[in-house]
Amino acid sequence: MARVWRVRRAPTALPAWLAVVFYAALVTWAAVVLFPLYWIVVTSFKLPIHVYAGPVYLPFVDFMPSLHAWRYLFVDLRNDTLRPFENTVIVALVSSTLALVLGTGAGYGLLRFHYRPRLSAILLFTATAVLVIAAMAERVHGLAAIGGGVLLFLLVRAVLGRSGRTVGNDDIAFWMISQRMLPPVAVVIPIYVMFQRLSLLDTRAALIITYTAVNLPIVVWLMRDYFRNISLELEESAAIDGASPYRIFWSIVLPLATPGLAATFLLVLVFSWNEYLFALFLTSANAQTLPLSIAAQNATRGPMWWYMSVLILIMITPVIAMAIALERYIAKGLLVGALKG
């Protein structure tokens, strides 16, 4: 008897009229979601005349599809189309990988080890860093400034000694996660100036570094929650057998966390793939990413919707393919983030 109850997972089978209502709502909303995508696909095969004469809906019925827009963008403007694509792929992949590596380590460390940095040390470090960078801005030689900063830091440290309030793991974790709240526009100008000083403006490196930092909080947040559900016993027995923390992390924890890693990586990859604000500030021509090159169509091509549709399609097809292939992981990753918040 008990078994029968278990098998019937949905004991609340809907009454027929209610089911109809819900399906109607779902189908309507699915149509709302899919129609814009359909329209973009159709528009990319239209000739200008099909657009200007008013809407035509069905290829082969209302109009003959044409590949002219695709040919124009991929043959005539080959480099202009492919370079942003290449930039986006490289920047998104590299920055997501970096964010995953750094964030996974930090998430694990914050869960398993105890950190107690002193507040005074953190403030001192901030102050010296500010001083060093201010000195460098005043054209003091870089090495001299850094050397002086390190000396100053050590000196004041020794004077201050080892007393004062400490900061715990939870504080560090909260600080990291709260960076997600920070509006990017509040930090983008100094970052711009920084990369300008380093001559990295309009390079992929600048975008990679920035996106890594932007995505770190999400990785720390999701992976810390994921590691929490991994049992400690395996790690403990490995530690007793003399495995180093690196080895435990690499050979035991990471393999167990593969699904979480996949979900987080995808989420972060999509964020980097679609990012707009930092790319808008930090790139101009060489390192331009796809969102920007699409946005630029606004100024140069006006309402040439057929080209625009093609560009939108090549931008969204890879992410959509990924979303469909790995839907299960993404939904789970979203849930972890939302439930544990």
């Binding site: 004991p11 709502a25 526009v185 100008i189 849930l335």
Partner: protein, 392 residues
């Protein structure tokens, strides 16, 4: 020991699971000896966190400090380069009372009768809320928090009432708030209505995942194409209504509506997926027990499922709120902030200021946004989220 603490974040007690159990009961002298022996181990644990901490420090805390400084200066070209002239709070003053006031806060008009009524209603609710904070035993911090929230929210509603009356014009601050509040409410209810455990939900989940994956820039163009009243897919409808020659981009509310439509299209599915996953993860035992006891469908939902969904709902709203304040791509591409500044969000406002080399002003707008986000998130967490999360 001394070397280990040279850097912030470097002083930890090694407590890899194995180490912890050895440590219990060790004497002080032994602890000291082991501390020296553990020096390499401590570096190992540090190495897990330090790179992330440093990267975040240099790309978020540090720029934040520099931004604060920039917002107190004025950027000027001087012979041979540029200079930053200290102007104190002038950039903020410009936004709140100076020449940028109409851009940031909007153009106020005396409220209509309806406006007065709405404001009176909101003010009395807020007053009641603050008074209840004093009478209920929630401690001094709770009272101050509630009072601060009541004052700021009251000021916000006063601003809304005055700029949203006919003839008035809401500024970028209010526009951003409208995007956030309206967006979240509509998205949540649409998602909530659809999130049911029906057969075939996997298909819908895949479909609904798509909009979240698409760049907002792409969505903006898609909506421009769709919403073209003369040549878009709905042109026959508009023609029948006599609207084919009209352009929504010329009307403040038309443009705002299209921006919000794009936002809703993108994020309703996110809410849907999370709500559905939360529904699926509810324990079946409670519902089964209630069914055995003869509860009706409505009771099942209202007394059992819904209370368990409240914490997820609350977190969802918090996440969306934090993200929604950052909106820039949609208005920038859809309308370029226009007509006038009707659809400009705060981030876009800051970008426009930056583009005209008003770097101090841009940083000041960004800081205003930071204040608003922080205040909204803190109020929400302290006044609603904590209670809702505990409710279940």
């Amino acid at each position: 020991m001394s070397k280990a603490v040279d850097r912030p974040g470097a002083e930890e007690i090694p407590s890899a699971p194995g180490a912890r159990r050895i440590k219990t009961g060790a004497g002080l002298g032994a602890a000291r000896l082991r501390a020296a022996a553990d020096w390499p181990a401590r570096q190992v644990t540090t190495s897990f966190v330090l790179p992330a901490v440093l990267l975040l420090f240099f790309l978020s805390i540090f720029p934040l400090l520099v931004s604060a400084y920039l917002s107190l200066t004025r950027f000027q070209f001087v012979p041979g380069g540029f200079a930053l002239r200290w102007v104190g709070l002038a950039n903020y003053g410009k936004l709140l009372v100076g020449i940028e006031q109409s851009h940031f806060l909007g153009v106020p008009k005396p409220p209509t009768v309806v406006g007065w009524l709405l404001f009176g209603l909101a003010a009395s609710v807020l007053l009641l809320f603050a008074v209840r904070g004093i009478t209920s035993a929630s401690g001094r911090r709770g009272v101050v928090g509630r009072a601060a929230f009541a004052v700021v929210a009251g000021a916000g509603i006063w601003l809304a009432v005055r700029t949203l009356t006919p003839g008035g014009f809401p500024g970028t601050l209010l526009t951003t708030l409208i995007y956030v509040v309206v967006g979240i409410i509509v998205q949540y209810w649409l998602a909530f209505l659809c999130a049911q455990e029906v057969a075939g939900r996997r298909f819908f989940r895949v479909v609904f995942l798509l909009p979240m994956m698409i760049t907002p820039v792409g969505i903006a163009y898609t909506f421009r194409i769709l919403m073209d009243l003369g040549k878009g897919p709905f042109a026959p409808v508009w023609r029948a209504l006599g609207l084919a020659e009209v352009s929504w981009a010329n009307y403040a509310w038309g443009a705002r509506l299209v921006v919000m439509l794009g936002d809703i299209w993108q994020w309703t599915p996110f809410m849907f997926i999370v709500l559905l996953a939360a529904l699926e993860s509810l324990p079946a035992e409670l519902i089964e027990a209630a069914m055995v006891d003869g509860a009706s469908r409505w009771q099942l939902f209202w007394r059992i499922s819904w209370p368990q969904l409240i914490p997820v709902t609350s977190t969802l709203i918090l996440i969306r709120m934090i993200e929604a304040f950052k909106i820039i791509d949609l208005p920038n591409v859809l309308t370029n902030g226009g007509p006038g500044t009707a659809t400009e969000s705060l981030t876009l406002h800051a970008f426009m200021a930056w583009r005209t080399l008003d770097i101090g002003g841009s940083a000041a707008v960004a800081y205003m946004l930071l204040f608003v986000v922080t205040f909204a998130a803190l109020s929400y967490v302290n006044l609603a989220h904590r209670r809702l999360a505990e409710a279940a």
